[in-house]
Structures are given as C-alpha cells and as structure tokens.
C-alpha cells in the first residue's frame, strides 16, 4: 500500500488543538512520586565464591541474624523456599560457630518474605543460585545463524563483529552445524569482558561501537541453543544492556548540563523533579537520534531490548513512556515466537516498566496473558533436549517476576483477572504460588477459601501442596483473614495435609491452642513420622522464640502433653531449649501455675539424666535449673517460696548442684527473714525459720560430696544461730561431725582439721546447747580425734585442735559451776593429749624436731595468752619452753632448716610480762582491798587455773604421773 508521508512541524503543533487528537499531558505528580526499591545485602553469592560458612553478622542473643540477610544453600537444586516447613515471624538465623551446639540446626530456618517488592538485584542472585550449578560444567552453544542485518545500518563501525571475536577466543573450537561450542564459564567471562569493553569504548567516545555491542548482546538473547544457560545469559546480557542504558542516560545528563549553560543539572536526587520541558532542544534531538537508531534495527527482539534499555532517556524527549508505549511494547513482544525468548523479554519489560511506573498494570496483564500461552505451549510440547520439569523450570524466574510486578499493590480487579487466567490455563504450582505471594495479602486473605479450594483441587503432589500452603501461610501472616471460618478452613486443610505451616503468632493465642489440640488428635492417630516431628519441633522452637508472652505459652495445657508425643531425645532437646529460652527472657517467676508448668518441663529434663549422661550435659541442665530456681521470687511471701523449694527438691533430687542451690536459697530465706524482722522474731517467723533450717538439715545429707555437706551444715548452723535456734544449730553441728566421722579420709586430713578448727571457732559463741552437756560438741570432736587415724601430721593437727578447744573453753565467760567444771575437765584432757603427742613424737625425735618444737611452742603460747599464771602453769610453761629450746637446738644441729628462735623469744617475753603482772597482782591481792575486785576481774582465769591446779594435783592418775615422770627423765637425758 502506498503511504503518504508529510512532514509536520509547526502546523502540527499549532493545529493540534483543533484536531481530535490530543497531545497527552505529562503527569507531573506521578512523576514526582518516588519508588524505593529495596535492595538486599547479600553476604554470600555464587559469583563471589563465598563458602557456606561465609560471613555471619553479629548474632543476637539467640543467634538471631539481621533480617535482610539471604542465606543461600548451594546444595539445593530447587528454589530456596521449599526447604523447611515452618515459618514464623522470626528473622533468619545462620549457623552458630559452635558445631557442638545442639541447637545449631534451629538456626538455619528461612526468613519469610515481607510484603515488599523484591528487587531485581535480589532475584538475580536467587536465579543464579538455582541455575548456575546446573550449567557449571556444561558447554554452551552459540547459534551460528547470523543474518545480514547484523551490522546493517551500523556497519560503519570498525572492527569485527563480536561474534567473530567470540569465536576466535573460544577454547573449544569445535564447530558443529548449529554453532560453536564454548564452556559456560568462558562464555560468562567473555560477556563480562564485553561489558568492560563497552565501558572503554564509551570513554573513548566511540558510541557507535557501544551501540553495536548493545545490539549484539540483544541478538545473543535470540539464541536458545542451550536452554539451560538461558537464564544466566539473560542476567548477564541484561546487565550489559542496563549498563548501556545508564551510559546513554549519563550522557544525556551531561549534555543537558552543557547545553543549558550549567543551569540544569540532573542528579540522582532530583531526577524526578526536574522539569523536562526545559531541556534544551539540542539534547532532545540527540536523544531522539538514539531512539531512531534503535528503532531501525531489523529484528524484533533486539529492537525491543534496545528500546527498553534506553527507556530511561525517554523523559528527555518529552515523552514519558506512556501507557501507550508500554502497552505497545508488550504487544510487540508477541512477535517473538520462541517461548523462552518471549517470556524473558516480558520479564525485562516488566522490570523496566516497574522502574518507571509501578502502577500500570494493563501492559502487565497483556504480558501475563501472552506468557501463559507460551507456558502452555512449553508444557505441551516440551523441549527436545530437556525433560519437561527442567524445561519448565527455566521459565520459573519469569513467572515469578511477572507475577510480582502484576501483583504488587494490585487492586481487586487485577487480582480477579489474573486469578481467572490462572483458572483457565493448565495448572502449575508456581502460578498459584506467585499469585499468593505477590498480590497484596489482604486480597489473598479475603479469598482464602477459594485459594484453599484451588490448592486442594488442582494439585496432587505433596511438594506442590506443601509449598503452596506455606506460601499461603506466609501471606496470611501479613494480614490475617478476618473471618475465623477461613482461618479454620485453612487450619483444617493444613492439618489434613500433614502440614503444620500456619501459625498466627500475634493475634490469637487461641490459634496456637487449637493447633496443639489438633495436633494431639492427629498424633494419636498416626504413627510417628520423624520428618513430621522435625517440623513440629521447629514449629515449637519458633513459637517459643517469638511468643510475646512466653509464660502464657508454657501454660497451655496441651503443650506439655504435646511434648510427650515426641521421641525422647527430641523431647529433651525441646525442653531444654524452652527452659533456656525462658530463663534468658523472664525476670521473675511468680505465677504458681507457670512455675508448675516449668517444673514439669524441668522434670522431664531432669529425669533423663542418668549414669550415661555426659558431664557436660549434666552441668548444662543443672545450670539451667539453677537459674530457674533463682528466679522464683514471691517477694515477701516466704512461705510460698519455701513450699515451692520443697517441691523442687523433690523433683530434682538427682542433681546435686540444684540441691545445693535450693539449700542456699532456703538458708538465705531464713537470713532474709531475720533481716526483715530486724532480729526480733515472732512466733510465726521463728517457726518459719525453723522450717527453713529443718529443710536444710534434711536436704544436706542427700548431697554426695562430703565437703559440700560440711560446708552447708556450717552455713545452716550459722544462720540458725543467727536466728537464735540453738537446738537446731547443735544438731547441725553434730551432723557435721557425724559426717566427718563417717567419711573420714586420711588424705583429707588437713582439710578436716581446718573444718574442725572452723567449727571450733564457731563454737566460741556458744559451745553447746545448755540443755545437754556443755561441751558435747567438743567432746564429739575429741572422740573424733581419738577414733581415727590422722596420718603423719596427726600430732600437729591434734595439738592444734586441742589448743583451740582450750581457747574456747577459756573464753567461756558465762557459766556456772557445772560449766566451769566441765570446762576444766576438758582442758585437762586436752593437755594430756598434748603431752601424749609429745611423748609419741619424742620416740622418733629425729624426724620431728620441727613438729615437736611447734607443739611445745603452741602449747606454751596458748597457756601464756589465755591462762592466768599460777605455779603449776608456770612450771608447765617453763618446761615447755625448755623442751622447745632443746628441740630447736637439736634441730638446728642436724637438719638444714633452721628453726627460728623468734617465736620462743616472743612467747617468753609475753610469759615474763604476764608473770610480772601476776606478781603485781598478787601483791595487790595481799593488800586486800582490791583483791576481791581483781579476783572478780579475773575470776574465770584464776578460778580455772586454780581448779586446774587442783585437779592436776589431785587427779593425777597413774598414767599421767607416769607420763610426767617419763617426760622429766627424758628431758634430763637429752
């Protein structure tokens, strides 16, 4: 047909107002709207070669990661999301560094997509992750069909076409009929090189060459010889095209600045606000030239791609890419018959269109409709070289992307249309999945029933259904459906399908309860399926991690019963996890019911500890339990606390550490009680404290370690005494002694001695319960000394102890006659013992000089310090001194270590002083008047010493006498 061409300029613009054809006005408001595309930072990228443990950002308290981190698992050959079941609101978690951490596996669960638009950058990475492994070592065919148009209007450029250059460089130059073979990696590298070359050309102002490269790239996209490689090729080539587009755009900006005399400067910031009507004509013309050049490319595909690459420059020619243009382009794509090419071009158009005007949907609808036809074709006819599955998987990125663009902020009509389209075409899971995922969640939520029906009817394969349900769940999470009916439908449906993927965490706890309830029903009816339990496990973990009110969660009746359905190991792990989590996040335990539940769980844990458990495990669990116990805090209601502790004791009988904690807590309760009543107990409080002490008393013997027992006995005794409970204190100390008695270990003699000294120190306050014999405890100690073998250093130790006893005794201020008598008896006995020791040692004098010396000195010292001087004492002391001296010299003669004389000297000094004082007193005594005073002043000492003297003289039994005689004899001879 013939065309009449005319040139229209002034006339056209002027007359236009009379024509029915209207000039479209620019929509400035719309242009000024900024659309923020979310970029996601990627820590691991196949192209970066990062390993699987690459990069973890600092983790939160529970290994929580930044939400925006993608975790790519390169070993999976399917899309990321089909991995684990459950999804909650929790952020993504990466593997903890500690491989031994039993909870490591909880940390690799997916993050769920937000309702935001996922940028192309992010998508690219995912696509590459999927397809790259498939083509890793494959060879790519580059089609050989060059048409005459390859350089036609553009042949004026220099150099060979890229194709030739590529061929030249290919490592495997096997030529087949269809084209040259080149490895995938090489191809990728070549393309990257091309990208760089283009930049270089541009810098050299060789725009023609750049254009040529761009066109070449676009033409490469026409080639589907190796379908598997197509997605990657698409990404690489569109990158180059994007580069080209941005280079041109940059040039336009530069030119604008130049030609407007520097007045109009376009930067990224003001890109959308600039008034493009003011662009100088020159710039417009140049821009138009670019478009004209791209419009005269013969082939459809490159032409479309080029126009799309340059689309950002449309604003310079005063034509915003109108609905008309996008629609036109979307229709032009129909001219591409090859399904893969066509759909990927659709994807490119969608991307470009979205970046210009995200709200236009019509062109997208065109494309979706069109794409469907291709998909159907592909499904029906498949591909000669690939399996159906594989072939279709190549389309999935385009489906995903297209639907995202369509669905983003779509309105209801769009949704209906798309859904109808979906209904009317062969069904594939990915369509529905994309629909569910990308359309606004409210729309999906309102159509829950329909969608569920669709899932049920259209898909049979487990995988499909599961992934769809998961998608559904995620969407519902973002906007829960209003009608409970649909929720229930969903749950029911989900349950029917063994899928436990829906969890509505915030809005309704009822929801969770129902699920648990349902699960119980379910679990009863089927045999345990490990995989299933795994998922439920994750579910619980997630619930725990995100539950706002953890305590409420624990309180669910069903939860505990639920736990029982798990296999033991899992159950234990879960319990521990729960407790740990609880411990970390809860300040106080106050609610009785909650405590009960916690204890139930803890008991489960506790029960699993047996002889097979590792130390580390025991420690861990003990720690957790201890923490829990410490959290129990009823404020001032001590009674309640005690009751709880009692319960706890019964539950956690096996773990010593826990028991210890309990004891500590109880004892501290008693101490606290004392504090609160400020020392003045009422009947009620005293009985409470008694109860505490009693508790402790009973509990301590259950501890395994003797040392601990002793320790705790002491502690309890001290607190008991603080509260004025003499009887209890007494029995506690008896307990100590009996413990020591029973578990006497020669190796720990020093320790025991220390303990005893400790006790003795304590006994200074109140030696014993007045109701029984005064020094019962001391006597107990003494018998201890007698009855056991104390090993080589026994004598020293014994002596020390004896001396301590003497100290105690001598400190006893309060006392009546009986008391004093007993005290004296004790003292005598002690002294005898000392002498005995000396005797024994004397036999083996040689080796024991230091010890002997020590004994003597200690004895002397004590006497000097604590006793009033009397004749007997005097002589005894002197004797001691002499003996000490003797030993000293002997020792210094024989062995290397010299014993110092200082001690002797000091003691002697003291002794002398005392003697003087005593002498002075004696004198005063005779003066009479102050005698009584003085006597009263020093009654205990004097009376004691006097009494001591007397018994010494009177009660010197034969043994003693003999001993003394022996002593004297030996001293003479030495």
């Amino acid at each position: 047909m013939s065309l009449r061409l005319y040139s229209s300029q002034y006339f056209y613009y002027i007359i236009s107002s009379y024509c029915y054809r209207e000039v479209s006005k620019r929509n400035y408001e719309l242009e000024q709207v900024k659309f923020q595309l979310q970029g996601k930072k990627v820590r691991e990228h196949p192209l970066l070669g990062g390993g699987e443990d690459a990069g973890s950002a600092p983790a939160g308290a529970f290994g929580q990661q930044n939400k925006n981190v993608l975790y790519l698992d390169q070993n999976k050959n399917v899309e990321e999301e089909d991995v684990d079941g459950d999804d909650e609101d929790s952020p993504k978690k990466t593997k903890k560094e500690d491989k031994n951490d039993p909870y490591a596996e909880y940390m690799t669960l997916d993050s769920r997509p937000t309702g935001e638009f996922e940028s192309w950058e992010a998508k690219k990475v995912k696509i590459l992750a999927v397809f790259r492994p498939q083509t890793e070592n494959q060879e790519v065919m580059i089609g050989d069909n060059r048409d005459r148009d390859i350089d036609r209007p553009i042949r004026l450029g220099k150099g060979k076409s890229r194709m030739d250059q590529l061929e030249k460089r290919s490592t495997t130059t096997s030529r087949s009929n269809q084209g040259t073979l080149i490895s995938a990696r090489d191809f990728t590298q070549q393309l990257e090189k091309l990208n760089r070359e283009m930049k270089r050309f541009w810098e050299k102002e060789d725009k023609v060459a750049c254009m040529r490269i761009a066109i070449q790239c676009a033409k490469l996209l026409n080639d589907v010889e190796t379908p598997l490689f197509y997605p990657q090729k698409f990404i690489l080539l569109t990158d180059i095209l994007d580069n080209f587009g941005s280079l041109v755009f940059g040039r336009m900006k530069k030119l604008t600045k130049e030609h407007s005399g520097g007045k109009i400067v376009i930067t990224d910031a003001n890109e959308d606000q600039i008034d493009y009507t003011k662009i100088p004509d020159k710039v417009r013309e140049i821009c138009m030239n670019w478009f004209l050049k791209s419009a005269c490319i013969r082939e459809v595909l490159p032409r479309i791609y080029l126009e799309l690459a340059l689309v950002s420059c449309h604003r310079f020619i005063q034509r915003r890419v109108q609905q008309g243009d996008l629609i036109r382009l979307s229709k032009m794509i129909r001219g591409i018959a090859e399904p893969l090419c066509a759909t990927y071009t659709c994807a490119y158009l969608a991307r470009v269109g979205h970046s210009i005007d995200p709200n236009q949907k019509e062109y997208l609808m065109n494309m979706v409709e069109f794409a469907y036809k291709h998909y159907n074709y592909a499904i029906k006819n498949g591909h000669s070289k690939l399996s159906q599955e594989q072939y279709f998987s190549l389309f999935e990125p385009t489906i995903d992307w297209l639907f995202q663009c369509v669905g983003h902020n779509a309105n209801k009509q769009t949704f209906i249309k798309v859904y109808d389209m979906y209904e009317n075409n062969p069904k594939k899971a990915i369509y529905l999945k994309s629909i569910i995922r990308y359309f606004p969640s409210e729309l999906i939520a309102s159509a829950t029933t329909t969608v569920i029906g669709a899932i049920k009817d259209h898909f049979i394969s487990e995988d499909d259904r599961l992934s769809l349900i998961k998608e559904m769940g995620l969407t519902l999470l973002r906007s829960p459906p209003k009608k409970n009916q649909s929720k229930l439908d969903f749950i029911n449906f989900g349950w029917d399908q063994f899928a436990i993927k829906n969890l509505n965490q915030n809005s309704v706890n009822l929801f969770i309860k129902e699920i648990f309830r349902k699960f119980q029903d379910f679990a009863l009816s089927t045999t345990s399926d490990d995989d299933l339990f795994k998922k439920l496990e994750f579910l619980l973990v997630k619930v725990m991690m995100t539950a706002q009110d953890f305590s409420e969660l624990i309180g669910f009746e069903n939860l505990l019963g639920l736990l029982n359905y798990f296999p033991i190991s899992v159950k234990n792990k879960l319990c521990e996890m729960m407790l740990k989590f609880f411990v970390d996040h809860h300040p106080k335990l106050q609610d009785g019911f909650l405590i009960h539940s916690i204890f139930q769980i803890a008991k489960t844990l506790h029960d699993k500890i047996d002889s097979m458990s590792s130390d580390e495990e025991i420690k861990r669990i003990s720690k957790t339990l201890c923490k829990i116990i410490r959290k129990i805090d009823f404020g001032k209601d001590f009674d309640k606390t005690l009751i709880v502790y009692t319960t706890a004791r019964g539950l956690f009988i096996n773990l010593d550490e826990v028991t210890e904690t309990l004891i500590t807590q109880v004892v501290s309760l008693a101490a606290k009680a004392h504090f609160y009543v400020k020392g003045k107990h009422s009947q009620k409080t005293i009985s409470f404290v008694k109860a505490c002490i009693a508790y402790s008393h009973i509990t301590i013997p259950t501890l395994e370690s003797m040392d601990k027992q002793v320790q705790y006995f002491m502690l309890t005794a001290q607190v008991g005494l603080m509260n004025g409970l003499l009887g209890e204190t007494d029995s506690l100390l008896k307990g100590v002694l009996s413990t020591i008695d029973e578990n006497f270990d020669q190796k720990k003699v020093n320790q025991i001695a220390d303990t005893i000294l400790n006790i003795l120190g304590f006994l200074v306050i109140v030696p014993s319960n007045p109701e029984t014999s005064f020094f019962q405890l001391v006597e107990g100690i003494l018998s201890l000394l007698k009855n056991h073998e104390w090993g080589s250093t026994q004598h020293i130790l014994k002596t020390k102890i004896h001396i301590e006893i003497e100290v105690i005794v001598s400190y006893s201020v309060i006392g009546n006659e009986e008391f004093k008598r007993e005290a004296t008896q004790l003292m005598d006995y002690c002294f005898d013992q000392i002498l005995e020791s000396i005797e024994k040692l004397n036999d083996v004098k040689q080796s024991y000089y230091p010890e002997l010396f020590q004994i003597c000195i200690l004895a002397a010292n004590t006497l000097v310090q604590n006793c009033a001087i009397s004749k007997k004492i005097d002589s005894f002391v002197n004797k001691m001194f002499k003996m000490a001296d003797g030993y000293l010299t002997e020792n210094n003669k024989v062995s290397g270590e010299k014993i110092n004389r200082n001690v002797i000297n000091l003691t002697f000094e003291n002794f002398r002083k005392k003697k003087e004082v005593f002498a002075a007193q004696q004198q005063n005594q005779t003066s009479g008047a102050s005698a009584q005073q003085q006597m009263q002043q020093q009654p205990p000492r004097q009376s004691v010493s006097q009494q001591q003297q007397q018994p010494q003289m009177q009660q010197m039994n034969p043994a003693q006498q003999l001993a003394q005689a022996m002593k004297q004899r030996q001293m003479m001879s030495s």
């Binding site: 047909m1 065309l3 009449r4 040139s7 007359i15 030239n289 001219g335 591409i336 069109f370």
Partner: protein, 281 residues
C-alpha cells in the same frame, strides 16, 4: 590554505519560513554560519568571497554510489533555490577570525518551493585570491514544514484495514498456494513524518509455519518517466511461528535521513510505500 564552512546549527537542519497567518507574515529562516580560512600565514590578501547557496534535485544518491545515474549537469538540475551573493569584495583578512555569512532559506526560483531533502542542500563558498580560487562546501538539510501534505487530506488519519490471504495475492509463483490468513489495520496511511507508523496485524491462520513478518518501507522515485524503488528499511515484526489470534503491532519510526516526505513535483516525484512481507517456512 583551505577554507572551511561551519554552520551555526549543529544538526544542520533548517526550516524555511512558513506562512502562519492570513496576512502572510513570513518567518524567515536564516542559515547562518562562519567561514574560516586556515593558513599558515596570519593574514592573507584576497580579492573576493562569494557565497553560493543552492537547492536542487539531483539524481545521485550517496548510498548508491556508482550504481545510480551520474550527477546531472548544472543546467539540467531542477533548482528550487539559487542564491549567490558577495560577502566581501576583497582586501585583507585575518586567518584567525571567522567571517560570518547568512542567507535566507527560501525558494527563489520561480514556481518552485523548497522540498525536504534527504541528501541535502548545499552551500558553496568561493574565495578568490589573486588568480586562485578557494572553495568550500557544506551541505545542510532542509525540512519543510508541511511538506508532502496532500491538501485534500490534510492531516487526517486515514485508517486502512487489510487482509492477506491467498485470494488477495496478485500473482503466485508457487503452484500450490498454502492456506493462510492475516488481518490487520493501519491506523493511518496519512502519516506525519515525525510520528511513528502504527498498526497491527493478526495471524488468524497459517498452514505453514511462519518464519517472519516484516514491514518494509520503500521509496519510489519517478523521474523522466522511469521509476526506481528502493528499500529504505525493513523492520521485522514477528520472528518465528507466532501465536495465533494475537495482535502484533506494526510500529515503525521513519528514519531521518534516508527517507523524506512524499514529494510530487512536476518533473519528479518521490512516494513511499509500505510492504508487508510474510515469510513462511
């Protein structure tokens, strides 16, 4: 020594004045530029600079090269504009300073009006120095507003529907004609040059696999009774066996230089044709 002409407008597109009002006020379009003389000496003597601006129709096409006819002789040319004026009578001039010149772009030949050029109008400047002449050439383009408008049609759209099927074929070289059916519409066969050519085509049916559908822009020149048709550009619209019953746009932009509006002149004419090419496998 050489002479250079530089036009002020980088694109070298000028539009001659146009009558915009009934009172016949013309907006003159001036072609302005500079002459620069390049010489080793800083000053030269000359005896005159003459500017010669011409617009004419020629049968030589740069693209064709030697295939086409040789250029016509001066007297045979059809001139639209012929201007000659003296810029300077003589004297000294500095080689560094450019000398401005200008002239109005208009048709000054009787009965002629300027037409759009896709080869170009020419401005030729001659400098006489002593006995020698220095010449410089510069081409520029003229885009005449409203050129090619058929006064009967004006700027109206003239949509045209078409159908392509075996019945419509004028001649078939194949013995057995395959069955096919295409339908379409051109939005307007009266197109503005700066506007795209638009329409669509729908494949209804085709027995054979479609290999490609193309839109071809052809320029037919008639001169001295002979007709030459040249393909200006060929745009592929569909590649491969496209899906049936889908509207595929026919969209094309007219190239700036290789095509021009329709010109009907007494002695020659240039018309444009669109061909639809369907290649079946």
């Amino acid at each position: 020594m050489s002479l250079e002409i530089k036009l002020d407008r980088a694109s070298k597109f000028y539009e001659p004045g146009v009558i915009i009002d009934i009172s016949k006020i013309m907006l003159q379009e001036k072609v302005t530029g500079y002459i620069t003389i390049i010489d080793s000496q800083s000053q030269i003597q000359h005896s005159g600079i003459v500017v010669n601006a011409e617009g004419y129709m020629d049968t030589v096409s740069i693209i064709r090269g030697n295939i086409g006819r040789p250029p016509m002789k001066d007297e045979d040319r059809i001139y639209f504009m012929k201007k000659k004026f003296t810029l300077s009578d003589g004297g000294k001039l500095n080689t560094s300073t450019p000398i401005p010149f200008e002239f109005i772009l208009e048709a000054n030949e009787k009965g002629e009006s300027l037409i759009d050029a896709y080869v170009g109008y020419e401005v030729q400047i001659t400098l006489n120095k002593g006995g020698k002449t220095l010449k410089g050439n510069e081409k520029f383009y003229c885009a005449v507003p409203g050129a090619g408008i058929d006064t009967t049609i004006g700027r109206r759209d003239m949509p045209k529907e078409f159908a392509i099927s075996p019945d419509n074929l004028e001649a078939s070289t194949l013995k057995s004609v395959p069955k096919f059916k295409f339908e379409g519409q051109i939005y307007s066969v009266n197109c503005a040059f700066q506007e795209p050519f638009d329409g669509y085509i729908i494949t209804r049916d085709s027995e054979y696999v479609i290999k490609s559908i193309e839109v071809q822009l052809v320029r037919v020149e008639t001169f001295e009774g002979k007709t030459f048709a040249t393909e200006v550009q060929n745009i592929q619209v569909a590649d491969g066996d496209v899906i049936r019953d889908m509207e595929i746009p026919l969209y094309m932009l007219f190239p700036k230089i290789y095509s021009c509006p329709t010109v009907i002149h007494a002695k020659f004419s240039v018309i444009n044709l669109i061909h639809q090419r369907l290649t079946l496998d």
